[in-house]
Subunit: 424 residues, 2 copies
Amino acid sequence: MSRPKPRNAVYAQSGGVTAVINASACGVIETAMKHRAHIGKVYAGRDGIVGILTEDLIDVGAEDRATIRALRHTPSGAFGSARFKLKGLDQNRAEYERLIEVFRAHDIGYFFYNGGNDSMDTAHKVAQIGTQLGYPIACIGVPKTVDNDLPHTDCCPGFGSVAKYIAVSTLEGAMDVASMARTSTRVFVLEVMGRHAGWIAAAGGLAGHKAGDAPHIILFPEIAFEREQFLARVQQCVTDYGYCVIVVSEGAHYADGKFLAEAGTKDAFGHTQLGGVGPVVANMVREAHGYKFHWAVADYLQRAARHIASKVDVDQAYAVGKAAVEYAVQGKHGVMPAIKRLSSKPYRWKIVPVPLESVANVEKTVPRHFITADGFGITPACRRYLEPLIGGEDYPPYRNGLPSYARLRGKAVRRKLKGEYTLK
Amino acid sequence: MSRPKPRNAVYAQSGGVTAVINASACGVIETAMKHRAHIGKVYAGRDGIVGILTEDLIDVGAEDRATIRALRHTPSGAFGSARFKLKGLDQNRAEYERLIEVFRAHDIGYFFYNGGNDSMDTAHKVAQIGTQLGYPIACIGVPKTVDNDLPHTDCCPGFGSVAKYIAVSTLEGAMDVASMARTSTRVFVLEVMGRHAGWIAAAGGLAGHKAGDAPHIILFPEIAFEREQFLARVQQCVTDYGYCVIVVSEGAHYADGKFLAEAGTKDAFGHTQLGGVGPVVANMVREAHGYKFHWAVADYLQRAARHIASKVDVDQAYAVGKAAVEYAVQGKHGVMPAIKRLSSKPYRWKIVPVPLESVANVEKTVPRHFITADGFGITPACRRYLEPLIGGEDYPPYRNGLPSYARLRGKAVRRKLKGEYTLK
């Protein structure tokens, strides 16, 4: 009985990177290398889908095993990621056909696309086009997003680590303010990521355990901002506790949908680029109450903070990468490995496949019952959900005081196609 | 032979708190408790000098030993700190006399004042007044400041940890940007503390090891900002490396002394309160070049980040607290335990006493030979100085995903003086 010749695999990172997306890459690569009967060479798109479109592939086989292993503790996108959303099939079918052309040239039978909502949609469409063009390809989505907004999965790899960073930072920053509030800063504002979903802001709530603990106010994108109510609460906190710590999501907005702060620019996906709601909120408090304030904007630091990654998150990131390959060699396609929670205390979970089409372009926001009635805090149900996700530490190795992170060789795969491809 | 009766000790925290000021407190307290022949009770000012002036003292002896031990890994000021500078002797001699009155009421023979420049000045004056009023008191300064600007000491406890946090954050943030620069953010700006001294900004430079590594530009308060030169360098970096990472000190200013960003408010010491230079620099770049940008302002997170403290820093913070008590029981007074570097590789240091009057109100900034000729980077000499200070990790214990930090009981010492004291 002859077995079919192994086909090659390509892995690509997409969208905003995280502290653990490379752990998923590590899971994909190490597992692929164990399935030589099915998978031949392992390539990666340099700068994600852009590298595939331009036939700029990285030969993963040329990297040391130790470097691949070190991806597990390395933040950012080691192969390069891209904010590049493929247009709809009817708008730019040529882009999808180009992908298939490149796949065909390199005998790619497996496409592992590591990203969020948009990427699951792309992976789904690539699978469809492949079928239509008579080029079967197993497209597996590998979930990743700090926003934690993918449906049908308990959480998204990348979220647990940013949640831990924000919970720890809220705790530490609040202790700082509390210790000096009598003669110095009264109000501290921490701006966190989360455009439409307030999961990261909610994670700040883990810092507090009893009444009076910081954070005293969380501003969610799920709750319309009401200025007077907010300012009254700030004043009450300063009166009652001597200080007030506020965690505000970049997506906080008024009832009419207007963001508290808009930078006025848009990213490649046409989303408004936010930033600066922290100082806006802090100044609002100063104008109303005159309190001395400070504000911090964690920005990229929060999603890159591998130094304080959640062990649960790292384990899950690796597991979805591993499962993606196992699904592919089992003949599954058009699926995403999702995390299914079996119990919260202790936290137990397993990986299950879900169809890409059920994931694509659906956004999971923080449900109302996870937010306190006044809209400013998290409920015990939310805590039960969140707490396991920041569980455990997974420190990287250090050298001369700094984390020792992997750097890839990034050897290019020889091109097979003629001519230059110009990105649309 | 009869020994003199032990006298009591008071410890107070002053100014901006750090990730390791409580490690100094731990050193002071644990050591004081070993010298029962000299030191009776150990008290602490609640909210620093404010607590001493108002006779609001904390009975340290009422805390569990385990809680005192846990101070070593707890950030912020566990006893409360204060931004409260005593006026000059000629302006408000009554404040100093009040301190002596409180000391006398509680038989305080030892005053350990844990702070920066201003606090060393205060401790020095208290010692003088005590002598003039016929109330001898051993005043020992315990150095602390994230700014690293005290003279006659290799470094200041608190600095090593913020330096490590900023170096790690610069490395991680830069990796994030590098991995996505092709289609997304080109310029990333990280704003750090340091009003007059650029030591923290310099620490960001530790993230890079070879040409092209981030950070590509450091803006020091020691170097007058020149817009055109800066913008040209940003453009060159984006052209050469695809992206540009900038670490900017809050104290960055133009040649005429004007800060790049001024919040317009002043703190209790009359210093202009800064904040927001990060977005100012980022917008400057966008207006000139149109690059997509992101910016982060670490603010309090950097000085509270005990989760990524430098082990060297923690050890030194404890050591200066311990030495302060040892000096006091040896009969030394009017001194500060300073750190003397014996060698850089390996880093070896010892504690030596320096007179408070030589420390008070002298500010040590980054010397010109630690900054590259173009003013945008650190030299090898600067790296040799800084690198040992971020050496080693000293992780706190964790519980349910969060650091387990000490919380004091804070039992008040019974008041002995009549009437209320009103702060000036």
